[in-house]
Point group: C2
Chain length 485, copies 2
Amino acid sequence: MEKVREIVREGRRVAKEDPRRVVHSFKVGLVLALVSSFYYYQPLYDSFGVNAMWAVMTVVVVFEFSVGATLGKGLNRVAATLFAGGLGIGAHHLASMSGPTGEPILLAIFVFVQAALSTFVRFFPRVKARYDYSLLIFILTFALISVSGFREEQVVMLTHKRISTVIIGGLSCVLISIFVCPVWAGQDLHSLLASNFEKLSFFLLDFGDKYCEVVENDDTKEVDKRKKDFDNYKSVLNSKSNEESLANFAKWEPGHGQFRFRHPWKQYLAVGELIRQCAYRIHTLNSSYLNADNKVSIDIKKKLGEPLRRMSLESGKAMKEMSISLKKMTKPSSSDLHVQNARSASKSLTNLLNSGILKEVEPLELVSLLTAISLLIDIINLTEKILEALHELASAAKFKNKIEQPLFSEKQKAKSFVSLRSIKCHDEHVVTIIEDDGNNHDTSKNDNRSKEVSIHEKHEDGDTHVHARCVSCGHTIVCDVVECR
Amino acid sequence: MEKVREIVREGRRVAKEDPRRVVHSFKVGLVLALVSSFYYYQPLYDSFGVNAMWAVMTVVVVFEFSVGATLGKGLNRVAATLFAGGLGIGAHHLASMSGPTGEPILLAIFVFVQAALSTFVRFFPRVKARYDYSLLIFILTFALISVSGFREEQVVMLTHKRISTVIIGGLSCVLISIFVCPVWAGQDLHSLLASNFEKLSFFLLDFGDKYCEVVENDDTKEVDKRKKDFDNYKSVLNSKSNEESLANFAKWEPGHGQFRFRHPWKQYLAVGELIRQCAYRIHTLNSSYLNADNKVSIDIKKKLGEPLRRMSLESGKAMKEMSISLKKMTKPSSSDLHVQNARSASKSLTNLLNSGILKEVEPLELVSLLTAISLLIDIINLTEKILEALHELASAAKFKNKIEQPLFSEKQKAKSFVSLRSIKCHDEHVVTIIEDDGNNHDTSKNDNRSKEVSIHEKHEDGDTHVHARCVSCGHTIVCDVVECR
């Protein structure tokens, strides 16, 4: 009884985690019941007979969770069946010419050679990645067709029926999976990447604060909570195989929503790899910071705390903004600011270090402290690389140019209205300035919206220039301030 | 033509990488040709008829590369077919009682409910990991049996034939895969772990030397070579899924060679996870050391070089010894010494740091230098943890106690013969002392070989004690030197 209740609980958890699983189960049941009608409905049974079982078999094996996987498997299966069917008929003809004693021997040799060769080809890495299933079906169909041909009189008829039922089964799977609550592998890959960004941002947003306060509230409860919050990023470490299989499936998918047929899935993998590189650093930072035998004294933490905190916070914000812009499929413009802030924080930290602040620190404290700093700098470098890769992805995938309302509120409070003259970027784009509040106040008379720049550093009274990035080509431009309201 | 030549070249590479692949291909061809004889040989065809195709199908689908995978799939398939066959007959009987109009409707409902439910259960993580294939076959067989029962008069007979052929097909796969050049997943997991150890050792053995000489020969050729040598460890970063699937297969395998049926595969996964943790650190060390903007001056490297080099060298030696003792399935006794040496090197480095050597170093140099040191210390800590886990694995797997000839020759040159009195370890084991050269010179009169200790620190004239580890319980004991030759 307890066991049953546990299974029900587990079932609820599985369904809650991803409700599309329940829908998928219904879809499979539906298609299978539909295809079974080949047996029940007399006219259909008259034309296909026992071969109808191939439709049932195809549905069970081909219907996968995502559209891409189903399409890939379905197309692979149909193509392999067609090809192997043709070859099987040929083999059967060739064998039957050699008389009743030679035929079984020749057939056995054909089956042996074909199976051994195809099995070997399945070990080729490129074949294994994409066509493993085709080859399985190829071996199967060839053996069945050539061998049953030995007993059946009308091999061509048999093959024809078998292929038709396979096509019917495959087609019903594909149609149902596309038109009834589709699950797109591409969409899943997209969301996986966005959530990976978010997981890293969770760590980075909190790390600075926790690192600087770690000695004060060191009770186990706090440590447990921190550990749980931080552990989120660990799933990123092993996401490679998942990302790769999703990208493989996504390649089969037709255009859907904002994803085109030839969406740049390769770029997704590149960004994913960089995120994973960053996760390795975070993992090292987390373990050596949690397990540090030589705790760094509060004194030195207070002195270095401000830039250290800002470095971690700003790279966390950049990650968060990238996650959001990926989710909304807009160009990641607001992250640039945060990366620049993190860079400038790391510069002020370097200046602080150069000012001789380290002279009084114990060597063992130094090791722990400087490792954390060095890893943070490494993480900021990677964040910049990730941002670059995401910019590439965004332009390859033709993400929208819309400038998002910045996420972090302190920036909105501090926004300043700046009026700037039209300027030219390196590539001779005429750029028009819009304000930081995201409402696209056009201050120049140039109407060409595609050549706007967004202001990336707040203008403060007294400064004579601000930094801006050309939306067309991505260059950073320094603009003179004309008027400040 | 060029394309064909390329395929042949690729084929040769694939075969050379693992010659067992060629053998496997032959085995598959052989079994398939064998099972096809069901069609050719009249008496066999008389008893099974078209159902013989199920044997062919089972062979194609079940025959996997390793024994464990084949056994797991075969058993899963037979069990699922039996169970689904029984249920299918039941469903058929139940439906046939409701008359000719009700029967197809009821059958369709059964198929729908069974398929939807089983598909949902496949999403349960624990089911997915081990029984995914069973459930696929369960859905398939249930649908085919209950539905073809609608047309066939003798469902029980049909089911009986189908199950027999599935069993025959499965059995031939299992027998051939076990008795003809078997590929054991357990053996593969074992070798994978040993090679992962080796990959990390390659990096660590060279890192110290290369780090200390990096500025002198900085030509691109050297950098390229170093990069290639070092890149070996990267495959360890993503070995998790491979290790897990091998362990899953290995669980199905019967005892073979030195592996028992219930070999501690879980412990293998634990050791593998720790190796991966170490690889993350090595990856960080490698990237931040190769990309260091602030190169550390030769001057300071020379001062710290000796202990730094020893730390990396000794942990690399420990890894190498662990790799060898895992390969030979002996207890990893000689690694203990190297870990202790690495520890003592890290202690002398710490002393050196405390002596004020860092006072003259530029802060930015410091960041780069101390990060490398801190990561090395981290790696040594992990090496010790890995060694512990390997000791556990060794005693769980009942590895031999034989003390290996130490691998690294410089130790043999420097060996010193020490004669010690018998002492007692904490747990009251009487321990007998053997020398460092691995030749088991017994200097006491105690004959109990299982209670030996190996000497872990070389005795130098003037010292009055050496460290030893009790082989029975693992405790480190300090022994007084009685006589020194």
